[in-house]
């Protein structure tokens, strides 16, 4: 038997905890903690929302971004295949459809690519036509849609504008380079144009350098190397090589308005029998490659390029 020599245990003193201590025992945050946290939140909000760019929170944000940014990127990378599963589950029919759509799209694009240079040329022509309105005439744009055959021995073309566009016979037709011809006949949607190179065509021309008047006659034939003749009215004046010839202008602007470039003198012949000079003109217009032409019309009509038109982007107004 051994004696318990340890001192007698102290009987526990009954503790009476205060209300606050009970709260703390139960893990309740003290009131001061709550107030401090709320005030911290409010202060942070006010400081951050009022200080704008140089907010003291900005550096903290940056640091958080430096740390969490790569983590986000990593998670996103890891999860990308999982997130992409719905996309990967496609039926065969779906895939065929998508392929067909892509092929059709591709065809469209290829066509566009092929038409690209053509479109650019058309745009350039339109811009040139626009520049021609600097002469002071309003132009109705039209496109050459048919050439008369050579075996008919007349140089005529058909354009795709007619009386519904305000066209009538004896209007001047020109393109971005110069004078093309005049209208012979119109239907409601087309018009026939007599080119100045036609053998029956005779245009009043004026040498720009010395204001001498003359007649420009066509020789017939589109591809002839000397398609136009110039005979000056004054027999004593000798045309010189390189001189530019513009239209003289008819009364009332029909069939030819004045000041439209025709061509320049390329060769000069003296006709001994008549004692006159005949100059061969090189026309500015390439008659074998006519596309966009303009018909000089009274201004104010619909679809008319007014004088002094402006070019915006690729369009003309």
């Amino acid at each position: 038997m051994s004696l318990d020599t340890r001192p007698p245990r102290q009987s526990p003193v009954r503790q009476v905890a205060t209300a606050r201590e009970r709260q703390e025992q139960r893990g309740m945050p003290s009131r001061s903690l709550l107030v401090a946290l709320v005030l911290a939140c409010v202060a942070l909000m006010v400081v951050d929302s009022t200080s704008g760019e140089e907010s003291p929170v900005a550096p903290v944000r940056r640091v958080a971004g430096e740390v969490l940014g790569p983590a986000q990127a990593g998670v996103a990378t890891v999860l990308a295949p999982i997130v992409g599963i719905p996309d990967a589950l496609r039926t065969n029919a779906d895939l065929r459809e998508a392929l067909a759509a892509a092929e059709a799209d591709n065809k469209d694009k290829e066509l566009e690519l092929l038409r690209g240079p053509y479109d650019e040329n058309r745009r350039d022509e339109l811009l040139g036509l626009c520049r021609m309105t600097d002469l002071g005439y309003a132009l109705a744009p039209a496109r050459v849609i048919g050439y008369g055959s050579a075996q008919s021995f007349s140089s005529t073309v058909t354009i795709d504008a007619g009386s519904d566009a305000g066209l009538r016979p004896d209007l001047t037709v020109l393109n971005a380079d110069g004078l093309v011809g005049r209208i012979l006949e119109v239907t409601s949607h087309t018009a026939t144009v007599l080119l100045i190179v036609d053998a029956a065509s005779s245009v009043g021309g004026r040498v720009g350098d010395n204001m001498e008047n003359g007649m420009v006659d066509g020789r017939g034939g589109l591809a002839d190397d000397a398609p136009l003749d110039l005979r000056l009215l004054d027999n004593t004046v000798v045309p010189e090589r390189g001189q530019a010839v513009v239209t003289w202008g008819s009364e009332g602007g029909a069939p030819y308005v004045s000041g439209v470039p025709i061509g320049e003198v390329s060769r000069v012949y003296e006709e001994l029998r008549l004692g006159t000079y005949r100059a061969v003109l090189e026309p500015y217009v390439d008659f074998t490659a006519l596309d966009l032409v303009g018909v000089v019309v009274p201004s104010g009509g619909e679809r008319v390029i007014e004088a002094g038109c402006t070019v915006q982007g690729g369009g003309v107004s």
Binding site: E24, P29, S30, L33, C41, L44, M45, V60, L68, V75
Partner: protein, 189 residues
């Protein structure tokens, strides 16, 4: 779970929730509304820890949410909202099962806590935005988004809150709802 491990677990839970919230759930967004995983993790933690810890955790998690990359609003708004959530849910849960012995809270309780916490948190966040005039949206629009987010949060709470609860109670023998031991101030006489 006690001592040094609990803050570590909390950090892990909050950061994971944040990363999921900003990377994964935008793919599952409904009209741009994403479940507030951070908020729900705070709710989960509040259910199994004491209110003081939950309040501090809410404050910290909200602060993290306020400065983490996609955030652009005035810092402190989520901190206030999540702090309130932590305090309210913690206090409520603590009062509710103070009589019971420790253990994981029942599933309906988790859901209810998730729904309530989500509503409270989002509302506080939205109200603070109204006071600060932070997002220039009208009240109707705000209410719509708040309700949508609360509904989505309830759906997400069904998974996230139990997951967080499990994370905080997974240590074998851990006593959930255990009070952080504090040194008694009064020495026995």
């Amino acid at each position: 779970m006690r001592g040094t491990r609990r803050p570590f677990t909390a950090l892990l839970a909050v950061v994971m929730a944040l990363l999921l919230q900003v990377t994964v759930f935008p793919h599952l967004a409904w009209d741009g509304v994403v479940p507030d995983l951070v908020l729900l993790s705070v709710v989960g933690a509040a259910l199994v820890t004491d209110p003081r810890f939950a309040t501090l955790l809410g404050f910290g998690a909200g602060l993290l949410l306020d400065v983490a990359p996609p955030a652009d609003h005035a810092a402190g708004r989520w901190a206030l909202a999540l702090m309130v959530v932590g305090y309210v849910v913690g206090r409520f849960a603590h009062d509710h099962d103070s009589g019971q012995s420790g253990g994981r809270p029942s599933y309906p309780l988790m859901l209810a806590a998730g729904a309530g916490g989500a509503f409270v948190g989002i509302s506080v966040f939205a109200l603070s935005g109204l006071l600060l005039r932070d997002p220039a949206v009208d009240l109707g629009q705000l209410l719509e988004v708040v309700l949508a987010a609360a509904v989505y949060d309830v759906l997400a709470a069904a998974v996230v809150v139990p997951a967080t609860v499990w994370l905080f109670t997974r240590e074998p023998g851990a006593r959930p709802a255990q009070v952080t031991p504090r040194t008694p101030r009064r020495t026995p006489v």
